[in-house]
């Protein structure tokens, strides 16, 4: 029974709760047991069983009174970038130490308002800076998936590696995540899960630890397209506390799932065919195009000429914003403080001890590109290239309703494999980073397995505020792909 409770989708669980086939408490307990037996994955950095059971009991009481809410009783994992009131929130960094927020992020508050249950906090790359979850102060998450016939531990992708691994291993019915350059979509691709980064401004950033404020967006990682739509509907909404939160209505996202895609026009950007891309990813991409055609879409080749400049522009803009945002970690008001003889020494010693190597690298790059004499050559230049990239998308979206591309340039890779060369790690985000610069929504869903038995993702990119069309197309692809593969539960203690 317990395995059936955790292996179902969020949508199925809501039906089961409504039909009283099981209680929210039983559902939460089954997940807590699965989490306790899966510590080898290192997906959770904090388990909150008491809170989970208390929330689940409150949910059962609401349902008994006939007051059930849209997500009532659904157990979720929360990326440790979201501030949760009274519950340690670290952003995967030593510098936040034992930080316990005295407030709740808007996105998680929205989920609790709708009745969801918190299972715990999920591992992630430090301050969301990474594509393998290896920069976490808590150590890497291990991907639930393994290559056929191999015990080699694989990376789950990042930065939302804990979120993706937890959903793939049935340690939550869904998870919150964030995406600054691909941190929702790339781990979703590497773990056979569905992830969507909505339009910039769709979800409030209030209470989400800041990395690069003009790029950061929250979104869900889920087991199905419909589950992702249900979760995003709950997470979204205008929030006066975030001045970049868009004052727009939240559409009925689940209502787009299963709608006919006949007549929709989908573009295939030729610049996403990059040198050295594995043939299997090319094949899957072509297969995705066939599935869309079979479903009645018109597919055309399009051009986004500045695609290859997105990643280098990102690696100026994101570190510049990060170096400003992370200035707040000075050891004075919260988090770690390393005492030293002078104030300046205290700042320097605190930040040296509190930040990991990748965070230091990015803060230094940011400080450098913003420093006197270099600002125009780097930062201003990158902002102009960013405009070129956004204009490319604007031109293409006059002709097509959405774009289809691979999500990531490879399947899951071994832990430690890309460690030595920062640029090699950055290249993971080559297909995902463009939409962050343009602020557009994009979704990743599993399309199939490679020869090693590892999942590969397809990405759909949409117009601003048109997540609905993405859910519509994604559900057509999901039906055609019929992706049923599951990782062997080798981690179970």
């Amino acid at each position: 029974m317990s395995g059936e409770l955790t292996s179902q989708t969020l949508k199925q669980a809501l039906a089961g709760l409504a039909a009283r086939r099981f209680s929210a408490r039983e559902l939460a307990q089954a997940h807590l047991d699965a989490i306790a037996a899966a510590r080898a994955l290192n997906a959770y950095v904090l388990e909150t069983p008491e809170q989970a059971l208390a929330m689940a009991e409150a949910s059962d009481a609401r349902r008994a009174r006939g007051e059930a809410r849209p997500l009532d009783g659904v157990p979720l994992g929360i990326k440790d970038l979201f501030c949760t009131k009274g519950v340690r929130s670290t952003a995967g960094s030593r510098i936040l130490g034992d930080f316990r927020p005295t407030y709740e992020s808007t996105v998680t508050a929205n989920l609790w308002r709708d009745g969801a249950v918190m299972l715990g906090k999920l591992n992630m790359d430090e301050f969301a800076m990474g594509s393998s979850n290896e920069t976490s102060a808590f150590g890497p998450v291990v991907n639930p998936w393994r290559s056929r016939g191999s015990n080699r531990p694989l990376a789950p992708g990042g930065s939302s590696g804990g979120s993706a691994a937890a959903v793939a291993a049935d340690l939550a019915l869904g998870a919150t995540a964030t995406d600054t350059g691909g941190s929702i979509r790339q781990p979703a691709s590497l773990t056979g899960t569905v992830g969507i980064k909505p339009t910039y401004g769709r979800c409030s950033r209030w209470g989400v630890v800041a990395f690069a404020s003009s790029l950061d967006q929250a979104g869900p990682i889920a087991k199905s397209v419909e589950d992702a739509a249900i979760l995003l509907a709950s997470m979204s909404g205008h929030d006066p506390k975030d001045s970049t939160s868009l004052p727009v209505e939240v559409p009925d996202f689940p209502g787009f799932v299963g709608r006919s895609v006949k007549g929709l026009k989908v573009g295939v950007p030729r610049e996403y065919r990059v040198e050295g891309m594995p043939a299997e990813i090319e094949t899957l991409w072509a297969q995705g195009v066939e599935w869309l055609k079979d479903a009645g879409c018109e597919v055309v080749e399009v051009s986004l000429p500045h695609t290859r400049y997105a990643l280098p522009a990102y690696y100026i803009i994101a570190p510049a914003e990060a170096s400003s945002n992370l200035a707040r970690y000075d050891g004075m008001r919260y988090g770690l403080r390393v005492e030293a003889p002078t104030l300046l020494d205290t700042y320097e010693a605190t930040r040296a001890a509190g930040f990991g190597e990748e965070v230091k690298r990015r803060v230094l790059i940011g400080a450098y590109v913003l420093s006197a004499g270099y600002y125009d050559a780097y930062y201003l230049k990158a902002q102009k290239v960013r405009r070129r990239i956004a204009d490319d998308f604007a031109a293409v979206f006059e002709r097509v309703d959405a774009l289809v591309t691979p999500t990531a340039p490879s399947a899951a890779f071994g832990l430690g494999e890309t460690g030595a060369d920062p640029v090699a790690m950055y290249l993971n985000d080559i297909f995902t980073v463009t939409v962050n610069l343009a602020g557009l929504p994009a979704l990743s869903l599993p399309g199939g397995l490679d020869a090693q038995g590892l999942p590969l993702g397809l990405q759909l990119i949409g117009r601003s505020l048109d997540e609905g069309t993405l859910f519509q197309l994604a559900s057509a692809l999901e039906k055609a792909a019929n992706f049923r593969a599951r990782p062997e539960p080798w981690w179970r203690a």
Binding site: T102, L246, H306, A313, R351, V385, P422
Partner: protein, 95 residues
């Protein structure tokens, strides 16, 4: 553009991060590698292009100039490394 150890030391001082001497050269090499890769942006013609700082075309919203929050000293100090009698305790600022 390549960065030398002296530049790393200067930037690290700006960023308020102490870097051990032994790490200066390796960091200079890593940062030079990243910046060298970024150089390809010089291929892009950006003549007459307006810099883009945000993806939102709208102006920042204005709100009523009224107090919305306050009286939360205990919550604000709750995570302080050191606090006494309702204040943050910090190292001496004036030498």
């Amino acid at each position: 553009m390549s960065i030398d150890a002296a530049t790393v030391r200067k930037v690290a001082r700006l960023a308020r991060i102490r870097i051990e001497d032994a790490r200066l050269e390796p960091l200079a090499a890593e940062l030079s590698g990243i910046l060298g890769w970024i150089e390809q942006l010089n291929e892009v013609d950006v003549e007459g292009v307006a810099p883009m700082a945000s993806t939102e075309a709208v102006l920042l919203p204005m709100r009523e100039d009224a107090v919305t929050d306050g009286g939360d000293a205990a919550a604000i100090l709750a995570n302080a490394p050191r606090a006494e009698r309702g204040f943050f305790v910090v190292p001496k600022v004036v030498e």
